[in-house]
């Protein structure tokens, strides 16, 4: 049957397949389909840059136009991965530059990117279009200058929330006068002031500019200048949203917003002065995505603004919204898909705002499309969680962070097992779950039994014993990423479920009870896993086998152990014993 279609017909059919999953399935049908598919795959997604080598990728897929790479484990976002751990993109760029002269897109997340890498990107690809750097680090504004200067057809430059060494704002002026191709520019993470003139001219000459996210240094008074030159904007991130209260600034702003008929997304609002929020009222009814999570505005200004956005689908906001604000949200934004409530004062034990579980319950009741939640609060009850679960069986992502570790149900003082159990039992499509509060092994039993579509699970300060971990690893069929910190999980569950780990992208365990010996055994038993131990205090001198490791990162790979590990990371494999003894010898003990 397969032979009756000529290659170009199959290739044409495959060109409609955009999801990796589909292309992977297609390539398993037979050898000729594998061959045809690999020659025409243009987009590659690598969820763990150490799971595969660039050589292997290039050998299989000779004509790639877009590459997406992720580096450090997710917990690196919270400072749990020491500096120097890895995730260097440079070797990848070198290989990609050699193999794919027509590469157009590179998207990186949690990787270390140097100016050298950026310069190499800017000079190696003839038709380079898209650079997205999310939560990356290691580069300076000099690297950005190379990109601006050399990428003639640049369409997208998104710096995400990367850590950029900001030498000066001058880099933006390196965009040549004949660069008119920009569609998306996000410089919101930068501190330095860019030349406003250069920015204004750039915006004016790019008629296809749809997304513009400014940095804090762009003053509010100048925003109208940009909006007038880009009335076609779909997404705007304001700079500092503060100025002295002057009626001409206000009226200029209001008039400029009036002209932006396509605006759907708003963000920024640094240092917001609430008096200026009404200048945006003309666009509110069209807004579907609103990121106020850096806006320190409080009620009633805050809730009044949000309630104007009746078509809101995504809201990111600080807990200044409070329960009352969330109740208003539930009443006015019936299209809400995603809610994220961030803490304004996460390190204070005392609540500084009146935001409790009630707010989340109200939104779960009032917003029938709510499927994605990230919620920081200081109290929770099983009753509330059960209500949320019953209200929203369509929940896909549920991340709850109760600020105090191991906090029980504040009404009954019991663990929150029942509540989270209800979530996994009712929300059958749940793909991502983060838990907090007081939790025993029982909740893991519920998860293993019910969470069959769960792909990513984050656990902290929870559980009583290895059976908790065992329930998860043996029951969650779709599990891809598991990250655990400060839980009493140890060797037994890990070793008993060794083969499971090959079906997952990665496992992170820090401050648990996994011993060096178990890690060694796991590494020796499973050659297609990299079992990496992170021990900043060096190796134990006495009785090493039974000593707990500080942090463990296990991931499947076809690239073998990595070669760029710093001194405090060890790969546990069949060679580890000899390597470890050499290390202790060198130390002269």
């Amino acid at each position: 049957m397969a032979q009756s279609f000529p290659e170009d017909v199959l290739e044409h059919v495959f060109s409609f397949l955009n999801y990796d999953k589909d292309r992977n399935a297609v390539s398993l049908v037979c050898k000729s389909w594998y061959e045809i598919e690999r020659l025409c795959r243009r987009r590659i997604f690598i969820g763990n840059c150490y799971a595969v080598s660039s050589e292997i990728v290039i050998r299989r897929f000779p004509d790639v136009r877009a590459v997406e790479l992720k580096g450090k484990p997710h917990f690196a976002d919270f400072n749990l991965v020491p500096e120097g751990w890895g995730g260097y993109v440079y070797p990848w760029i070198v290989s990609l530059a050699r193999a794919y002269p027509w590469l157009e897109e590179i998207k990186l997340k949690r990787m270390v990117v140097t100016d050298e890498s950026l310069e190499l990107i800017s000079k190696s690809f003839k038709n380079y279009k898209v650079l997205v750097l999310l939560s990356c680090e290691g580069f300076t504004t000099d690297g950005l200058a190379s990109i601006a200067a050399n990428c003639r057809n640049l369409r997208e430059l998104d710096l995400g929330e990367s850590e950029v060494e900001d030498l000066s704002g001058h880099w933006l002026s390196h965009f040549p006068d004949n660069c008119t191709s920009l569609v998306s520019l996000n410089i919101s993470c930068l501190g330095s002031e860019v030349s406003f003139c250069a920015l204004e001219r750039l915006v004016a000459r790019c008629p296809n500019l749809k997304t513009l996210r400014l940095n804090r240094a762009v003053p509010l008074e100048k925003l109208p200048n940009l909006l007038c030159r880009a009335p076609q904007l779909v997404e705007l991130g304001t700079g500092a949203y503060s100025a002295e209260i002057q009626s001409d600034i206000f009226s200029n702003l209001a008039e400029a917003f009036l002209g932006c008929k396509q605006l759907k997304g708003l963000s920024g609002f640094w240092d917001v002065v609430p008096a200026y929020l009404p200048a945006m009222y003309s666009v509110c009814s069209r807004i579907t995505s609103l990121n106020l999570s850096y806006a320190t505005a409080q009620n009633p200004d805050l809730v009044h603004f949000v309630s104007q956005c009746s078509n809101l689908q995504r809201l990111w906001v600080l807990d200044y919204i409070e329960d009352t604000g969330l109740e208003a949200l539930a009443a006015s934004c019936k299209d809400l898909h995603e809610l994220r409530v961030f803490p304004s004062d996460p390190f204070d034990a005392e609540a500084n705002v009146s935001l409790t579980e009630q707010g989340l319950v109200a939104v779960s009741e009032g917003c029938p499309k709510l499927q994605s939640v990230l919620y920081f609060c200081r109290q929770m009850s099983n009753a509330a969680l059960v209500a949320i679960a019953r209200n929203r069986p369509n929940m896909i992502r549920f991340r709850l962070c109760i600020i105090e570790p191991r906090a029980p149900d504040y009404l009954t003082l019991e663990p929150l097992d029942t509540g989270f159990g209800a979530i996994v039992e009712n929300c059958k499509e749940l793909r991502r779950l983060s838990m907090s509060g007081l939790l025993t092994d029982r909740v893991f039993e519920y998860i293993g039994t019910h969470a069959k579509k769960l792909e990513m699970l984050s656990i902290a300060f929870a559980g009583d014993s290895d059976s908790g971990l065992h329930h998860v690893l043996s029951g969650c069929e779709s599990l891809r990423k598991l990250e655990i910190r400060d839980c009493p999980f140890g060797d037994k569950a890990l070793l008993a479920n060794a083969t499971k780990l090959e079906t997952m992208r990665s496992l992170w365990m820090s401050s648990c009870s996994v011993s060096f010996g178990a890690c060694k055994l796991l590494g020796q038993k499973m050659p297609r896993l990299n079992v990496e131990v992170i021990n900043e205090r060096g190796l134990p001198d006495s009785r090493p086998e039974s000593c707990p490791v500080e942090k463990l990162y296990v991931y499947r790979t076809i690239a073998g152990p990595r070669v760029d590990m710093p001194g405090f990371v060890w790969t546990m494999d069949e060679h580890v014993s000899s390597r470890l003894s050499r290390v202790t010898e060198r130390r002269g003990d």
Binding site: E161, F347, C547
Partner: protein, 237 residues
């Protein structure tokens, strides 16, 4: 320089902050975070133990008894749970991303008077250590808090003589030189002006506002900073 002393006199932080006292190292309160209040009759307090793999430099106790906490020791492989650290000490919890923490810290300090908008996360390096770390200065309430955390991150680092607030006595040149010759490592920092200073020369809040990065230097190398530290100190008083 005159302006700095003006600023200082305006800052009513309470005289205890700026008073330079003689006193043996404190710090036993690492885990319960109870610094300023906890002195007994002669002002001496216990010393936190930091265990060092290579040099076995632990056990600089001056006082036994109250508040002497043993650090959880990987090497001894004890399975006893360590006393849970105060919230300020739990790394990465609550799970708020560094970018967000920095932005909120800057916005907070911009809305308060006094301290300027410096990022809270600073890089920490130690001479001879193969890795850098980052610390969020807002997590700590005093120099002792910070030294304790640094001691946990870098094995060879134990803080030398300083007073109960963690501030150093810079006015006495010979004492300073003794300190620097006697310590293996001394913490230094780069301030807003780009100068490298000895840690402990200003009240804690001021330090948080002006510190851009930390470097734990060999005591003998830090001698070069001593005259400058004293200069700045003299000009402030």
């Amino acid at each position: 320089m005159a302006m700095i002393s003006e600023e200082h006199s305006k800052e009513k932080l309470g005289f205890e902050e700026t008073e330079l006292r003689l006193g043996l190292p404190g710090g036993g309160g690492i885990v319960n975070g109870d610094f300023g209040k906890n002195t007994n009759a002669n002002g001496k307090r216990g010393y936190p133990e930091t265990v060092n793999l290579k040099l076995n430099l632990s056990l600089k106790e001056t006082e036994k008894g109250e508040n002497l906490q043993k650090e959880k020791n990987l090497i001894s492989c004890s399975n006893n749970a360590v006393k849970p650290p105060t919230k300020a000490q739990v790394v990465g919890w609550p799970p708020v991303r560094s970018f967000r923490k920095n932005v909120m810290a800057v916005q907070k300090s911009n809305s308060e008077e006094g301290v300027g908008g410096t990022a809270t996360f600073v890089k920490v390096s130690m001479d001879g250590a193969p890795y850098l770390r980052k610390v969020d200065l807002n997590m700590y309430k005093s120099y002792q808090d910070l030294y304790g955390a640094l001691g946990k991150m870098f094995n060879s680092f134990t803080m030398g003589k300083c007073d109960s607030q963690g501030m150093m006595d810079f006015m006495n040149e010979s004492k300073l030189k003794d300190l620097l010759n006697g310590s293996d490592f001394v913490p230094t920092y780069e301030d807003k002006d780009g100068d490298w200073m000895l840690v402990g020369d200003v009240p804690w809040e001021m330090f948080v506002g002006s510190c851009k990065r930390l470097r734990i230097m060999k005591g003998t190398e830090a001698i070069g900073l001593a005259p400058r530290a004293m200069e700045k100190c003299k000009n402030r008083s």
